[in-house]
Amino acid sequence: MSVLIYTEVNKGKVKKASLECVNYGAKIAQLLGTTATAIVVNADAAQLEEIGKAGANKILSVKNDAIGNDSILITAMVEQAAKAEGSKVIVFAFDVNGKAVAPRLSAKLRAGLVAGAVDYPSVNGAALEVKKNVFSGKAIALYSINSDVKVISLLPNSFPIVLGENAATVADFSADLSAVASKIVVKEVKSTSSGTSVPLPEAELVVSAGRGMKGPENWGMVEDLANVIGATTACSRPVADMHWRPHHEHVGQTGVAIRPNLYIAIGISGAIQHLAGVNGSKTIVVINSDKEAPFFKSADYGIVGDAFTILPKLTEAIKKLKANAN
């Protein structure tokens, strides 16, 4: 028996969401009195070391250039690893690949899945009980997974990453994918991550603006604020619909759901569908000229006033703070 954790390397680094999963899987292993095994494709020595520091006892290191982000191939690989390791719990991140692979594996293994867990599971007899967000963040449900093998995908940003001194044993693992047809041919890859900023679902700091900014030509001051704090930019749905900002910045019920440490909402009214995607944020700051804007009811800090005068002042004040800190 063991806990198996699917991890990924992206842009030269172990993905943040993957390190969170290793921490999480190691805790579950402790809880069940077993060990944690991570599986990773094409990781170098430094990356393997980092996965070890996050708490994996063992790492299955796969060298394969065909797997990429093909969900059929990843599923087959993890399925073989789970069988080889006798894994009873398999952990994924609830991110783009995790959303494609975890359900497929769940079906193949007839293993119950909780998608988007937000807390550590507790053991109840042969079942594991896990909390996840439901109703777009308006409630939490306690799920019981009753099957023998269990799959859990962890909502990114649910726990801070802890790296220790642990070193994992590394074993080469070669998945036999000869019998698995990939069925998907990649024709073109398009990158949307603008510059160096962290992709929205992983971002810890987010500066977001809505229709109150009046037009796309005014986004410079939103970007200035985001730049001084190193935040990723987001927007409300009408802003994306009017093509003021790219679609991947749209947060909310029908856009990306995020839970950063800091969410600054500028000129956004706080409609329930917008809140559904951001109300898991740890700290929310709202800047709105209307003191009755519903968003203030969901905010930790609020400023009533004109964004066009407040934003430049706020950016300057943060610059000053950063300068003093250095």
Binding site: L142, V186, A299, A317, L321
Partner: protein
């Protein structure tokens, strides 16, 4: 090519969320139900567009649920689906739902199964991938564009930090996200026509439920917002630095 569109019946996006029976179930009293937005706006409308372009022969709705979701199914027919199937069973275990849909799709020669990106009540993004696993068909998740030509499906879908264009062959399962189509409001003719379109009710096959919800808790709302004067942004910066410790 026949298209099967899986639709879920969910509380309206503005519904007040509360629970009943010792917080063990959703309290649906006074709640309006709608078709899950992703299923309606993107999956269903794109399926209809493919049919209108002569690339699909039939668009069938499938729903796993009880009689109380008939109004939702009728709305889907009013928007333009040809017919509908209701598998008579309670959800919400994603595996059970996927198993029912996978069996129906295979037994009735559907080659393209469309689901929504996620349901707005259970937010699992799970049913589509499970249908893919159960049928062993390919699954393309979070697709924002889709076209079909001579049995080949070209899609654009989200990946980490961007998107990619892929080609897949039928049979195929696709989860549909924003970008794929525009919402359609049913017109009077559609609503009239929907009254006579068939909704076939099929009893659920025996299937496993691998998970169950034991209880619900309402998310904690924020209690009170600290207001800061617009002429004193330094105070906000200090609070974010020393109290919230986020910058």
């Amino acid at each position: 090519m026949k298209i099967l569109v899986a639709i879920s019946n969910v509380p309206d996006t503005t519904a007040k969320i509360s629970f009943a029976n010792g917080d063990s179930e959703f309290n649906s009293a006074g709640v309006t139900y709608i078709i899950n937005p992703y299923d309606e706006w993107y999956a269903l409308v794109r399926a209809l567009e493919l049919k209108e372009a002569g690339k699909a022969s039939q668009v069938t709705l499938i729903h796993v649920g009880l009689t109380d979701s008939e109004a939702t199914i009728r709305k889907g027919l009013a928007i333009g689906a040809d017919d509908a199937v209701r598998i008579n069973s309670e959800g919400p275990d994603a595996f059970f739902v996927a198993d029912q849909i996978a069996n129906y799709a295979k037994a009735n020669a559907y080659e393209l199964v469309l689901v929504g990106k996620e349901t707005i009540n259970y937010n699992g993004s799970s049913v589509g991938g499970m249908i893919g696993g159960l049928t062993d068909w390919a699954y393309v998740s979070l697709a924002t564009k889709m076209d079909v030509d001579a049995g080949k499906v070209t899609l654009e879908h989200d990946i980490d930090g961007g998107s990619q264009v892929v080609e897949a062959s039928l049979p195929l399962v696709v989860s549909c996200a924003k970008g794929m189509a525009e919402q359609r409001i049913p017109n009077m003719r559609g609503i009239m026509a929907a009254r006579t379109k068939p909704i076939t009710v099929v009893e659920a096959s025996a299937g496993d439920k691998l998970t169950n919800v034991k209880s619900f808790i309402l998310a904690k709302g924020r209690t009170d917002c600290k207001f800061i004067d617009e002429n004193n942004v330094d105070e906000l910066v200090q609070l974010l630095h020393t109290e919230a410790k986020v910058i």
